[in-house]
């Protein structure tokens, strides 16, 4: 019972951690009718439009991403985040400012020539190569700080998870490290298909809460897989150093090193994000392969059937 309470506390902490400046847990949903922002009005968090008509005038601001699934959006204000169109119609007025990227995956776009899009425009499902922006000392220090805080938080989470779920975490870690190709392949397949399923659910409107829960579950699975890889790395490291430490300490150390290392590698354009993606999908796939660690994974053993072979099996016998 105590374990269960701690796990629930962990989950709550994770969800609260998402309530950051970008307002992951703060979402405004517009499904129908006419909605006009007032002059100077500021909306914090994500704005999801799945119907109706929404107007954001020049002096209004949205501090978060905008997702246009259907309906109409007249945007003449400022958006601090990405704007993604999957359906419907978006009109970008002359004073519109998008601080992030405009992602056009569908729908219709009418853009004023004086509208500003800081991160550029992505069309279709094309992969945008990351910008290599000139780094300043303050931005580097800020990024390093966030990376360290992120790594420490994950290390703490790894310690708790390894302490209370030692065997499941161990099974996931073993699947990821012994069979990375299989885990990675399954993780990549699920990583492409499941988000599409969630988007389709969101389009039904009724299933938006399910889609949000599904997205949360997806993220939790990926984190779980990451922690398991970190725990496996920690065990391996201390075995090599011939030192005995607790499960929690090994998991925390391994996860900390893994997260920091991949944050550094991530700085390398293209290769870095690919390496990070490979690690995430491998952990995710390993979690799926082992059913979140409830069972071990091993591919079928070929040796038994290969030994069962004789001349009679391949020789031609006339009828």
């Amino acid at each position: 019972m105590r374990r269960l309470r701690l796990i629930m506390l962990l989950i709550a902490a994770l969800l609260l951690a998402g309530c950051g400046e970008n307002g992951i847990a703060g979402v405004t949903l517009v499904t129908e009718g006419d909605h006009a922002f007032g002059p100077g009005e500021t909306l914090r968090g994500a704005l999801v439009i799945s119907g109706g008509a929404t107007t954001i005038p020049a002096s209004a601001r949205v501090l978060g991403p905008i997702y246009l699934l259907d309906g109409r959006l007249d945007l003449d204000g400022a958006v601090r985040g990405d704007v993604t169109i999957l359906g419907g119609a978006l009109r970008l007025g002359p004073a519109a400012v998008i601080d992030g990227t405009l992602n056009v995956g569908g729908g219709a776009l009418d853009r004023s020539p004086t509208a500003t899009i800081a991160g550029g425009e992505n069309r279709g499902m094309g992969v945008a190569l990351p910008d290599v922006r000139p780094a300043t000392l303050s931005s580097l220090v800020s990024r390093a700080g966030w990376a360290l805080a992120n790594a420490l938080a994950l290390a703490l989470l790894a310690a708790l998870t390894a302490q209370f779920l030692p065997r499941p975490v161990s099974r996931v870690g073993m699947a990821a490290t012994r069979y990375p190709l299989v885990a990675g392949a399954l993780g990549l397949l699920a990583g492409v298909v499941v988000p599409a399923l969630l988007v389709l659910m969101a389009f039904t409107l009724v299933l938006i809460p399910v889609a949000i829960l599904g997205a949360a579950l997806l993220a939790l699975t990926a984190i779980y897989g990451w922690l398991a890889i970190g725990a496996a790395l920690g065990r391996w490291l201390f075995a090599r150093l011939n030192r005995r430490v607790s499960r929690a300490a090994a998991a925390a150390t391994g996860t900390l090193l893994l997260t920091l290392a991949l944050n550094v590698i991530n700085l390398v354009p293209l290769v870095g994000p690919l390496a990070l993606l490979a690690a995430v999908v491998t952990g995710f796939g390993a979690a799926m392969l082992t059913r979140f660690g409830l069972r071990s994974y091993a591919p079928p053993d070929d040796r038994a059937w290969q030994a069962d072979w004789s001349r009679a099996d391949w020789e031609h016998r006339p009828a």
Partner: protein, 437 residues
Amino acid sequence: MELLRLLRQRRWAAVLGYGFFVGMMAVGYYYNLTLVQLGLVDLGERVIGMPEQRVASSMGVLAAITCVVALLVGLAMRRRGWSQRFVVKLRLAWGVVLAQTILTAIAPSIRVESLFVAWVAATAVVLGVGVPATFSMTVDLIPVRDRGYAAALITGASYFAAAVFSSTWRIERFAAQSLAVMIPGVIALGVIAWGRWRIVESLARQHTLAEFGRGRWLRRDSHGTLRGDRRLMAVVLLMFGIYFVDSLGFLRLLYAPIYMESAWQAPDLATHLFIGVVHVVGALIAGVLYGRIDSRTLFLWIFGIFALTHLLYIDRTPVADLLPNSAPPLAMPLLYALTVSLYTVINFAVWADFSTPRTISVNAAIGVASSAWTATFISTALALRWRLGGLALDTHLSRVAALAMLFFLAILLAWYFEPAIRRQESGDGRQESGVSG
């Protein structure tokens, strides 16, 4: 990966055989995807001016003849022992490529319907011979452990080439592209098949080794003979379902310009490259997973993705009607390409895994011909009937999605009840409380 082991062991004949098989099948499948499936339609409708219905009927006839010929040739190969003779299979393959080269060369100049029908019939006969002859070389040239990888290479290469190099679906272009490869190919294959080469003799013995000749899913029957286990019929049925669902849906999307011109017939190269890369990635995923996870899981993914893709198209259709200039998202062709690659890899790999060198020709004929071609034949007729009968696009796709979901459900149910069925068959008399598994 066995190929790496062969390289480390410097078994160059085996490596060359591996590469030869992958190349031959990739080119053959590219030919099938482009000239046979797309070029035939262009030749009939645009060049000769035949009505859609008669062209579609010709495609159905092609599928039916291919199926019948493949089964007959597969059986004949088994009876005569050609299934175990690599050199005979090579010479059959050479004959097929030679005939296809001639048919490809004359295709663009056909102007009369009667000649078109004769060309279709001849193509079908040649394809029917080619399926058992080429697929049965799997047991000679591809190690069992690498069947997934080899299938992935074949699938990825052929679909990538088809996506990137065939934006214009014209018979003249397909014929020119194909002949550029087939003419040197038929000469080279002729030299290999009719000459005396030590490499060929070495490859001809590989099927005697368990690492090449023994399929994964075989069991000994009461006479001690190795046979494909009962899953073979289930796989035939499932592959039939996959081809049926795919063909039934795509044959309708072909006549929806908003979806074709934003994806497979888009003017920009980037879209074609995107689809090509997705095919390659999908093929690699399937190649890695094949034989390493339960095959039912792969089938569940395939039917699930088909259902999801068609539902996305259905969801998108009202928007497309209202905003005809709006670009549909590439998510749909992405998912389509992904799942097509997944099942194509299974199709290239699975039949040999239910076979020995003796049975591969028949099993390949049953599997490829009766599942793929029969499904194509029936779904072509049905898709045409629905479309000419005025069935709306979203209704058509709803039915396809429903069919995909039915297969998905059937696999889930079979999986759920399998432990109980196995216990029943093994004669376990103990009373069980509840259903396990």
